[in-house]
Symmetry: C2
Subunit: 527 residues, 2 copies
């Protein structure tokens, strides 16, 4: 039996500190569910007292049945010179209702005296009081020793004394934080080893990437005895980010014989990384170890030749182990299981060896080469499968559209107008709309025309629209558009790719509308 390392994901807390990252409550729930499915031991969210969004998040998820993950709330020690029972922040943290509480406190003498401006003794009391308060409430308490490595360098005795305070308060785990991310693997190893030997309780590690060492530092801490690793799943976080847990999980479990997530989940690592990146509207670094789209992409002639002769000649692991795939081999079966699952949903008679399965694998490969990604847009994938199987009757046909864009200066707010002509059952409808930009105008005109025939489309609205420029294999740069829609009963996401942003948007939009119409028709048929 391999030794366990508990993976603690702070995507929803430290990850939310990343620039330009802002989660809706729906986003947060999706990410929590994805990490639970993957089998991460802990997911940390914020403090329900810090803002109303966090409060609503905890209210909504506290009764969710999670399969693998413990939800943790995060907050600071009590304020200086305040009774812990009367500290508002502490009470709010308790109100999250989680069984696991993370308390962070100061280990660096300079931070105590210069930042929070209190005495070294009071800081020690703040740590011990707060940990004990939550232990007395029956909680599991994880203690985050902020700036531990810098504190240790500055005043070794005091840094260790703060850990002792947390241990004396009853903490279940002491987490050593490299908050400024400036440490190096050899130092991390030495200090973690000393702490591990001295305290004899569970030790955790929390690294930031300011010197590019976050994952190496985490691994060296594990080598020194840490069995709890904090980070964020694709490395997002303030400044240069937190330790990337996707990389750490794969390194520990595939190469160092530790157990981090259930064995059978390892093949979902790549899919999970891409999914959470899409939800966050972040570009997943294509060169990300293990899970990046380029992680097993071979371009050099000699490398391709070598890999063709023996895959380990230029690959350190098999890409299948993490659910990724080699890129140059067009015969490689990408997403075969996903395709089969979808095929069976639509036509249960289809098997792995059916002609349709093979055809769809090829279509999917081509589309991925063109820049499509279906990880976060299953609806578009479903529509594709339905069309290919002939299990789809078109609800409408767009005969043509035209968009007129004026320079924003002369036209002020609504700079674009779109006209569109569609046909439904032999009947044509032409209409027009103005919009704030060409895509908005086109969206409005398209719906207006279709609603004449399908009034139920009025229930549907677009709730998110994400665009990014992608580097596909082709020479022209393309954009990928993701549209999320809702009809208050369900949410679905569709995708379109083109060199032309308007065409990409139109493709995603049409998939979304067709899905709504199909869904309503099937529900009506089932009644």
């Amino acid at each position: 039996m391999n030794k366990e390392v508990k993976i603690f994901d702070s995507f929803l807390r430290d990850g939310a500190q990343a620039r330009n990252v802002s989660f809706s409550i729906e986003d947060k729930i999706k990410i929590l569910m994805a990490l639970d499915n993957l089998g991460v031991a802990y997911v940390e969210a914020g403090n329900p007292g810090s803002n109303s969004k966090d409060k609503e998040f905890f209210e909504r998820v506290i009764n969710l049945k999670l399969k693998n993950t413990k939800l943790a709330a995060f907050g600071s020690t009590r304020r200086k010179e305040v009774d812990v029972e009367e500290d508002e922040n502490v009470q709010q943290l308790l109100s999250a209702g989680t069984n696991t509480i993370v308390i962070f406190g100061k280990s660096w003498d300079f931070h105590v005296t210069d930042v929070i401006q209190t005495s070294l003794d009071e800081n020690v009391a703040m740590i011990q009081d707060t940990v004990r308060f939550f232990k007395n409430k029956g909680k599991e308490v994880i203690y985050d020793a902020e700036h531990f490595f810098d504190g240790y360098k500055s005043n070794k005795g005091y840094a260790l004394r703060t850990l002792q305070a947390a241990k004396d308060g009853g903490a279940d785990c002491l987490v050593l934080c490299d908050t400024n991310g400036g440490s190096f693997p050899d130092d991390i190893y030495d200090v973690t080893k000393l702490v591990f030997d001295k305290f004899q309780i569970e030790i955790g590690i929390h690294c930031h990437n300011d010197t590019g060492m976050a994952e190496a530092n985490s691994l060296m801490a594990v080598k020194a005895g840490a069995t709890h690793v904090q980070g964020t799943f694709i490395g997002i976080g303030e400044r240069c980010g937190n330790a990337n847990l996707a990389t750490i999980i794969a390194n520990l479990q595939l190469k160092k014989n530790y157990r981090c997530i259930p064995k059978e989940q390892m093949a979902h690592l790549t899919e999970t990384a891409r999914y959470v990146a899409e939800i966050t509207n972040m570009r997943l670094n294509p060169g990300a170890p293990y899970v990046g789209t380029n992680a097993f992409a071979h371009k050099g002639g000699m490398h391709i030749d070598g890999v063709a002769k023996a895959s380990n000649s230029f690959e350190h692991i098999s890409p299948e182990l993490v659910g990724n795939h080699r890129t140059f081999l067009m015969s490689e079966v990408a997403g075969k299981n996903a395709i089969l699952k979808m095929l069976k949903k639509i036509d249960p008679s289809i098997t792995k060896t059916s002609k349709e399965a093979k055809e769809l694998i090829n279509i999917l490969k081509e589309m991925e080469h063109d820049g499509y990604q279906f990880e976060a847009a299953e609806t578009s994938f479903e529509m594709l499968v339905r069309k290919h199987l002939g299990k789809y009757k078109p609800f409408f046909k767009v005969l043509y559209y035209r968009i007129i864009e004026e320079d924003p200066e002369s036209s002020k707010e609504l700079s674009a107008s779109a006209m569109i002509k569609i046909r439904v059952d032999g009947q044509e409808e032409m209409t027009a709309s103005e919009g704030n930009g060409p895509v908005n105008a086109l969206d409005k005109a398209l719906r207006k025309a279709i609603e004449v025939f399908y009034p139920n489309l009025k229930e549907m609205k677009l709730i998110d629209y994400k665009v990014r420029v992608i580097d596909s294999g082709a020479s022209a740069s393309k954009v990928r558009v993701l549209i999320e829609s809702t009809d208050m009963k369900a949410n679905w996401t569709t995708v379109g790719v083109s060199t032309n942003i308007i065409e990409a948007s139109m493709l995603a939009l049409m998939d979304s509308i067709e899905y709504k119409l199909l869904k309503d028709e099937e529900e009506a048929g089932n009644c």
Copy 2:
């Protein structure tokens, strides 16, 4: 005096193996010059025999006077069972004319027998013959031991024997390569130390990032005695990339007391990273250590508060050391020197304390916040300064434009048409053009109208057009457009940012045209 570590940059060789990277000869020369300016010890390019573009590159640069950098050509050992003098590849490598030659050979027994399919003895002879051939020609020879760490694991004795062959052939440096990128810092340290102690010549390290350890591995090798570090400047390379030299230089020089580049160049690290990223049309990872736009961006309220009290409370180094800057402080002087330099170019009477200097700093800050970056678009910055100083008379005014976009299916090739009306000296000109997409149509129409008044504009053509979606501080997603233009006498690059891709393109296009007209007028005036 600090110990020197030679930085060896393979941007133009291993970096060119990255997916979607394709350098023109102009791009390569720009990157070489940028790395020379920074003070990198070596820049490696390919083999002039491998393709005609590499051949032309060496012909063009071989007589360039480089200040700091040695140019190296890269090739393999002789083929099996061929006399080294008669090996075509070896002869082509010699024809590059560089004083430094990099030879790579096999250290992994499995690669010898299964990939190149020869005997272990013949491989050793191939290495020694080839190194000796170039030494006899008076070259500096760097020997890259491909797959050294995997080879060492598989057959320690044989891996060391291949190094001995290179040393016996006269190699100046033995470079240990983690070609598959699967190694970890502790193993790298142990093996490098053993090699260093045994061979007593210069040892180099060449790491890939497949486990996220490339920079940590490089540092541990230096700790073990390596004094030559290979990588690519912003980490580009096949699969997960090469060791990121920007990170390694900063770590070694600022934190480990080694000398990698001239001390005074350290403050140009960030600028160089952004410049080479733009030339490569790659997005520089915003979270890249030291040089990323987010590397010193503070978002958390407590962090901002802490940094305001003492910058080292949440920063591991001062951003100024690497030419980067802290982001939340709006009073922070971004690019002050660059602004002053440009101001002095246009109006030498202006000083650091002038009102204009302060105003422009504020304007620049606002524009950067809006998503502008001028590192690779100095021309747009110059136009901005000229306009602000009143040193600019408009050549033309766009009165309005309209673009009509039809759905690509019904309109086939040229789906967009643009009409435009401009005014020059009280005279109006209206015209229209078709194009392959809205931007292309607008570009054609704009030039057509302006050329009526300024026929010299016909000399100018657009040679590159790059778009990327950026996350600015604002909520809507924006695009940044970079346009490179030439009139065969000079090349210049301009930038435009907007939520609307058409407007962003138009801004960059107008800057580019105005610059051409201004340049021609000034040249005429000087005659």
